[in-house]
Amino acid sequence: MKYGSRAPLPWLLPLLALGVYVFLYVPIAVLVIFSCNKSELPFVWEGFSLKWYTHLWHSPEIWHVLCNSLIVAFSAAFLSITMAVLYVFYGTRRMVQQLYITFYASLATPEIVLAVGLLNLFTLFSIPIGLLTLIIGHTLLGLGYVIPIIHARYQELDKQYMEASLDLGASPGQTLRYVMIPLLKPALLASALIVLVISLDDFIISFFCSGGATQTLPMYIFVMIRSGASPVVNALSTVLLLLSSVLVLLFSSLHIKKMDLLR
């Protein structure tokens, strides 16, 4: 016990903490249990069976949706990180550096405003809505998270490495490739994971910028819940849960917390 005994009502504190864990994990636990349900109805328990996982595996629709989601997520991650690295490395001009603040604006705006603005822009210039517009939207979302992270890490770096590289005759491009990117590797991996998770999870921008023809996973689940869920969704949700747990484990092994975002 460190300072717990000095807290007001010390016996209550662990109970309240336990309550939060129960609140967080009971719905997830019930979901996982019901994904192994035999019944045709998603919410009625009949007996143990893994048949919905085989249904999930053999559903071409879900593979297609997953494929869309992954294309969008990886493209958004690649684009936003490439642009962020270029911005941070080459943005030596004062004017460019001062414009850094503009990237915070998209984080402070409700996502629905971003989505409506993008939809309006696409209709105005009659850009067909689909995978491309999804990638544009998710890259915008990703930039807002990635630039602050990479910028902060770059500021912490010892600039002497870069100066030494330039002094020894390496071009800026070589310095970027062989010095800066290896030094920033943990931050780059962390940013990539964050953009992947945000993009795979995003609903609002996908809802506005995809036009229903190109569905992503969250939209697929949304439509399924709306039209009366089938037990396949239970299995799909459980798989997604497992996937994100694996991602977090990867992440914590990198010793970078998402908390870094909030600094």
Partner: protein, 292 residues
């Protein structure tokens, strides 16, 4: 400018390469965030029939119904944020200041739901709130109720799930703040004879205000524009800002009205955020107030 030969221009261009390489992200931001935002604001002043400046869109949106929808969304966002503070504070305090053992593991468990898809989180709550779901089953078994209670399709369901989904946004900044609290201050306070409550209200709580503030805004802003949770759980009975905006733009295809409504709700949100910011600076320590 005649002095610039072709070679000089080439030279000039080569010197500018770093500049050109640095601006794609800025261009992206301007093209897909600032220009669309300006277009939305502009659109809200354009007459529905075509061209010309008008305030008619705003006039159409100035009805009691829409005012109620904005007020309801603000209320929901505030209730969500307040409940998140109340729920997150004890557990963050416990993890940051009370325990040593298994701290990292418990923190990991606390953050994990943040990484799971929001849609999965919403779906999980159906199993709890359903007519034959967990809560109804438990209450029936305990003979507290004789018939299942309809928990889905109510504002209670919307609030519970909003709190559930946004709780991690409160936990992270709050935990970070409490973690870096200088515990010597608590020692000093206790040594000087303060009771536990006095130490808490005069030292711990004021020093955690920055974390609470960050978390509060991280919850308030996105929960104001939340779309999926009300759409799935309110049963269409109650409209929130997100659902109205999506109706205007997607189903009704009235972008002019939608733009006016979006601008109005953003102004309401900005006013609420400004007021809360002032309220927080009132609660914070004098030293911090000077820094602001």
């Amino acid at each position: 400018m005649t002095g610039l030969s072709k070679r000089n221009l080439k030279q000039l261009f080569r010197e500018q390469i770093p500049f050109f390489l640095s601006i794609p992200s800025l261009i992206w931001q301007i093209l897909f965030f600032y220009i669309p935002t300006i277009l939305i604001i502009g659109l809200s002043f354009v007459a529905m029939t075509g061209y010309g400046f008008t305030l008619y869109n705003y006039w159409l949106c100035c009805t009691v119904t829409y005012a109620f929808i904005i007020a309801r969304s603000l209320l929901a966002a505030f209730i969500t944020s307040f409940c998140c503070v109340l729920i997150a504070y004890p557990v963050c305090y416990y993890l940051a200041l009370s325990i040593e053992r298994a701290k990292n593991f418990l923190l990991f468990l606390l953050i994990l739901p943040f990484w799971t898809s929001v849609m999965v989180q919403i779906y999980a709550w159906f199993f709890v709130l359903e007519r034959h779901g967990l809560i109804n089953t438990i209450l029936l078994r305990l003979h507290l109720i004789t018939q299942p209670v309809a928990l889905l399709n109510s504002s209670i369901a919307v609030y519970i799930v909003m709190i559930y989904c946004y709780l991690p946004f409160m936990i992270m900044p709050l935990y970070a703040q409490l973690e870096k609290l200088d515990t010597r201050l608590l020692d000093a306070s206790a040594d000087l004879g303060a009771t536990a409550w006095q130490t808490f209200t005069r030292i711990t709580l004021p020093l955690s205000v920055p974390g609470i503030r960050t978390g509060f805004f991280l919850v308030l802003v996105p929960s104001f524009g939340e779309l999926a949770i009300p759409a799935l759980l309110s049963g269409g009975k109650q409209l929130f800002v997100g659902s109205v905006i999506s109706q205007f733009f997607i189903s009704a295809r009235e972008p002019h009205l939608g733009a006016a409504f979006t601008v109005m709700s953003c102004i309401a949100l900005a006013a609420a955020v400004g007021l809360m910011y002032m309220a927080f600076s009132w609660f914070s320590t004098p030293a911090e107030r000077n820094a602001l």
